[in-house]
């Protein structure tokens, strides 16, 4: 019993963390057909932004969260302004932007390396202590991550379905030309989507680093996991990504317990392969991947 609670608690924490990273990725892919490889680097920036504001400036934790959100959103916006805006109307946008964001990601990672050094640092925005659930001690920081993850998912769903901006985002993703005919300024929507995705990545950076550590390469693993989540869910499917993230978190923690920690990622990858053989467009994907 204790083991089951432990595995589920750890799986839900991982899942919530992946979900926040994956939803941002899915949002951008769904709206623009753009795989943002720099997502992981934005996440790293978010983690370090909180670290800097709290440790170096001595501001409270709330300011750290705000800093991660703002830095993430600004980086997302910058990617729109510098890369997307100019490349959007050129042919082979999907391929070009994939490579371009790969480059931006590397550059951003090295900026972090230059600014903060290569040594891992502890994320000050973390909670100590534990709560007993069925005689199992669950760290408070895991619970905070889970609750924050759920709140962010609810907020994202609310934004997408209940606000004018959200409706415009979904409309643009489903049919770009039709959205333009409705009067939606599609490029402005794209900029907003990248900013929202960046803000989510920033918060996700705090979550990831509060469980492990801050390091310039910390974005790599969650980026990979978020990508796996998106592929399993069906690229660009935001709600599918939420469900797939939680499921994969649970699978990973179960595999880590049953097979050993080093088999966690391997199990995930095998699962992805099997999923894609069974459903080539992902669990929740449509038969045809939609480009706007």
């Amino acid at each position: 019993m204790e083991v089951i609670v432990q595995v589920i608690a750890s799986g839900l924490t991982l899942g919530a963390m992946y979900a926040v990273a994956a939803v941002g990725l899915a949002l951008v892919y769904g709206a623009l057909g753009m795989l943002n490889i720099a997502h992981g680097a934005i996440l790293t920036f978010g983690g370090y932004a909180a670290f800097y504001v709290i440790t170096s400036l001595g501001l409270p934790m709330v300011a750290g969260v705000a800093a991660a959100v703002v830095v993430g959103a600004l980086l997302g916006l910058a990617i729109y302004v510098v890369l997307v805006h100019g490349m959007l109307s050129a042919p082979a946008f999907e391929t070009n932007i994939f490579i371009a964001t790969f480059g931006i990601g590397m550059a951003l990672e090295n900026v972090v390396l230059k600014l903060f050094g290569a040594y891992p640092a502890a994320q000050p925005l973390a909670f100590d202590g534990a709560v007993a659930v069925f005689d199992v001690f669950i760290p408070v920081r895991n619970i905070v991550i889970l609750v924050a993850g759920i709140l962010l998912m609810v907020a994202t769903a609310w934004l997408l379905t209940r606000t004018q901006t959200g409706n415009a985002i979904r409309a643009t993703a489903q049919n770009r030309a039709a959205a333009e005919l409705m009067g939606v300024r599609v490029r402005w929507i794209y900029a907003q989507v990248l900013a929202i995705s960046g803000a989510l990545a920033g918060v996700s950076g705090i979550m990831v680093s509060s469980l492990t550590n801050l390091s310039p390469t910390m974005g790599g693993d969650p980026m990979l996991k978020a990508f796996i989540v998106c592929v399993v869910a069906g690229l660009g499917n935001v709600y599918g990504a939420m469900i797939a993230a939680i499921a994969l978190g649970l699978v990973e923690s179960t595999a880590q317990y049953l097979l050993g920690v080093r088999f966690g990622l391997a199990t995930l990858l095998v699962l992805v392969i099997l999923t894609l053989i069974w459903r080539p467009h992902g669990l929740f994907g449509r038969t045809q991947v939609q480009r706007l």
Binding site: Q164, N167, A168, R170, A171, Q174, N175, A177, A178, A179, E180, L181, M182, G183, V184, R185, V186
Partner: protein, 238 residues
């Protein structure tokens, strides 16, 4: 006669260097029902795309409501009150009927106005009221067409352009769609209708333009058209 609401003047347009439209001119006056007819693939949809800003013109000018709007993008044209109900419906497939209709009123912020338009649309297309919460992708072809028309009407535009609203539908549904066109005409709306079936269009139209191979081949009013069956034969192979 007053200045036309929409005036297309010697427009050229095409895709990747090849002209599809050559020297097209067309006027639409306030409250008129104008139809553009012609065989498939002769530029009718391209003309509507040029007017609504989905496609850039390669020459000529377009004036709307007295302003030069040549080269304006689609969202700017929508903001000026020009509505384009495109061919193939182009619905938001994963949104409900209601959400699709609400997207039509995207640029309108006055809730009372939106509610009044929604009631109007439901009165003209009662089926949409029953299907409110249904996803657009699960609708039948006729229902989808009705959503596309309803979504266009939700914009409350000054001029509404319909691109082949009868395309690919069963005859009984086509009759329903044309009943809707008649109601819209009687309500005094300014309408541009693109249609392959010239006879149907002729019965409604104040003015008709025949587009053949990218150029204007003939224009006149509906009765003139019906009186000259040789036009139909020579251009439409009927």
């Amino acid at each position: 006669m007053s200045d036309p609401l929409l005036s297309v003047c010697q427009v050229f347009a095409g895709y990747t260097g090849r002209d599809v439209l050559r020297d097209i001119s067309l006027d639409v006056h306030e409250g008129a029902f104008v139809s553009v007819i012609g065989p498939n693939g002769h530029g009718k949809s391209t003309l509507l795309k040029c007017i609504s800003g989905l496609l850039r013109t390669g020459g000529g000018s377009i004036r709307f409501s007295g302003d030069d709007v040549t080269g304006l993008a689609a969202p700017a044209m929508a903001a000026r009150g020009l509505v384009h109900v495109p061919q193939g419906d182009m619905l938001f497939a994963d949104m409900t009927v209601q959400e699709n209709l609400m997207m039509g009123a995207y640029l309108t912020s006055d809730r009372a106005v939106i509610r009044r338009r929604l009631d109007e649309v439901h009165a003209i297309l009662p089926r949409l009221a029953d299907r409110r919460q249904q996803l657009a992708r699960t609708l039948s072809g006729g229902e989808r067409r009705m959503v596309a028309i309803g979504r266009g009407l939700m914009a409350g535009g000054r001029l509404t352009m319909f691109d082949e609203p009868s395309l690919g539908l069963a005859p009984v549904i086509i009759d329903q769609i044309y009943d809707v066109m008649t109601r819209l005409r009687e309500s005094g709306r300014t309408i541009v209708l693109v249609e392959e079936n010239a006879m149907r269009a002729a019965r409604q139209s104040d003015r008709m333009y025949l587009l053949d191979n990218g150029a204007m081949a003939w224009q006149g009013n509906g009765e003139e058209f019906l009186a000259r069956p040789e036009v139909i034969r020579s251009y439409l192979g009927g």
